[in-house]
Structures are given as structure tokens and as C-alpha cells.
Amino acid sequence: MKNLVTLIAGLMFGTGLILSGMANPAKVQNFLDLFGTWDPSLAFVMGGAIAVTMPGFWLVTRRAKPFFNDVFHLPTRTDFDKRFVSGAAIFGLGWGLGGFCPGPAVTAVPLAAQGTIVFVVTMLIGMVAAKYFVLWWDRRTWDLAGKTSQL
């Protein structure tokens, strides 16, 4: 049951992306192209998604726990550092240049456009690289903190 629900959630998400036009990178880039062939559709996708998610999250998190888990795993961090903001800025650059973000790109893989395959493979490489980078960064920050405390 748990596995089926997860599979269906993925299927709903992917179908939503296709239906909304977000699996088409040209449409995403046109949303970002205010001074060219502007297509405001993406604002409606975000609006539709938030209109469901906002009341939905509020409603389901009023329960003591989720159906298949002991706790709600909600992000608790409220700070933002240079690394976080740089990450978002780098992500946006790539999103604009390619017209793809992770969900639509993976959903579009079976349509087998060459550009999609190249994007997804390099995206996975970028993710692995960033995970190692974050590990290295955290270790370095720890070391620096350790040295300072010894002084």
C-alpha cells in the first residue's frame, strides 16, 4: 500500500507537469522572457499548485502523524547563508539556460529528446559533485571551528 501510494504520487506529479506544459522547456523559458515571447502559463502552474498545497498541508499536518510514518519531516532551518543563496542562484542560471528543472527533466526522459538526456546525465553528475562538495565544506567548517576553540 505504502509503495503503491508513492508510485501514484510520482505519477500524479509527472502528469501534472506534462498537463501544465512544464515538461516543455520552451514554455518555461518563455515565462522568463519578459521582453520576448512571454508566456505567463508558469505563474498559473505555481498558483494552482500552491492553491492546493497550502490548505492541503495545513489540513494533513493537523493529524498527529502521517499514515505511514511516525513523524512529519518538516524542514526546521530558518537561517540562510552564502552557500544556500549561491546554490539557489546557480540553480536559477541553469534553469534559465536549459528551461528544465529536475522534475520536468526526469519526466521528459522517456520522450527521448537528445537534449533532455544530456541535461539529465549532467544534472546527476552535478548533484553528486555538490554532495561531495557539501561534505568537504562541512568538514572544513568543523576543522576551522575546532581550531578556533583551541586558541
Partner: protein, 144 residues
């Protein structure tokens, strides 16, 4: 290249994306952040992390287009650039940036904003701005 403005379909599609996020929250208590779901499957992984749910969600994503084709008898409208070096660079930036910034359009843009998370609002404004600049440079300065 022009694309058709599709307010109704986009609103409906967005609603379906939201419904999926609510379903994941209600059942697993987790945020539907696609970059997080994908990157957690990849190495380096922390010990004891379960793989199966992330993999199943990705399989659901991958089945969406084939099922769409079966039901509607035609492929979804899609124009992907054939500038492969550009898409390769974009892929690296999206992958690296989404892990560094702890999320992408779904995790920050949809789920985070719905929770009124300050971090997600900052992230969304930041990536929207840099994406806007990227398209401005690409289409109106370089002229690709």
C-alpha cells in the same frame, strides 16, 4: 519561439502537482522536493537511508509520459534545444545548485512557499531572478 498561453491546463496541472505534494505529506510526512528525492538516491549516501520510496516516486515520474502517450495517442508538445553543450552546462548548474541550495522549483517554489518558509521564499526569489537574467543574456544579449 512562441508557445501557446494555457491558463486552464496550467492551473489544472499545477493543482495535480499540489495534490501529489499533499498526498506525500499525508502519507509519508515528507516534502515533495524533486531535487532532494533524486539526490538522496545518489552517492555519497548517509548510512541507514531508505532508498525504495525515492526510487518508486522517480519510477512514477518516468511512467507519466508513456501513460500520457497511451491515453492520448500523441506525445506531449515539447521543444528541446539541440544545443547539447548548452544543455550539458545547464544540467551541471541545476544539479549542483539544487543540492547546494537544498531544493528546486518543487521543494522551495511549491512546498516551501505553501508553508510560508522564509528560506524557501528567499530561494525562490533568488532562482527566479537568476533564471530571468540567464534567459535575458541567452536570448537578447548573446542571441542564441
Amino acid at each position: 519561439m512562441e508557445t501557446e498561453f494555457t491558463p486552464i491546463l496550467s492551473l489544472l496541472g499545477g493543482g495535480l502537482i499540489g495534490a501529489s505534494a499533499v498526498l506525500l505529506m499525508a502519507t509519508h510526512g515528507r516534502i515533495a522536493g524533486i531535487s532532494g528525492i533524486i539526490s538522496r538516491i545518489l552517492p555519497p549516501r548517509s548510512a541507514g537511508q531508505s532508498l525504495s520510496q525515492g526510487v518508486l516516486f522517480v519510477i512514477g515520474l518516468l511512467l507519466s509520459a508513456p501513460i500520457w502517450v497511451l491515453v492520448y495517442g500523441q506525445s506531449p508538445v515539447q521543444t528541446v534545444s539541440d544545443n547539447l553543450p548548452l544543455l550539458g552546462a545547464a544540467g551541471i548548474l541545476v544539479g549542483f545548485g539544487s543540492v547546494l541550495g537544498n531544493g528546486c522549483t518543487s521543494g522551495h517554489g511549491v512546498c516551501g512557499i505553501s508553508r510560508l518558509s522564509g528560506r524557501s521564499i528567499v530561494a525562490t526569489v533568488t532562482f527566479m531572478s537568476s533564471a530571468f537574467i540567464a534567459v535575458l543574456l541567452l536570448r537578447h544579449v548573446i542571441g542564441a
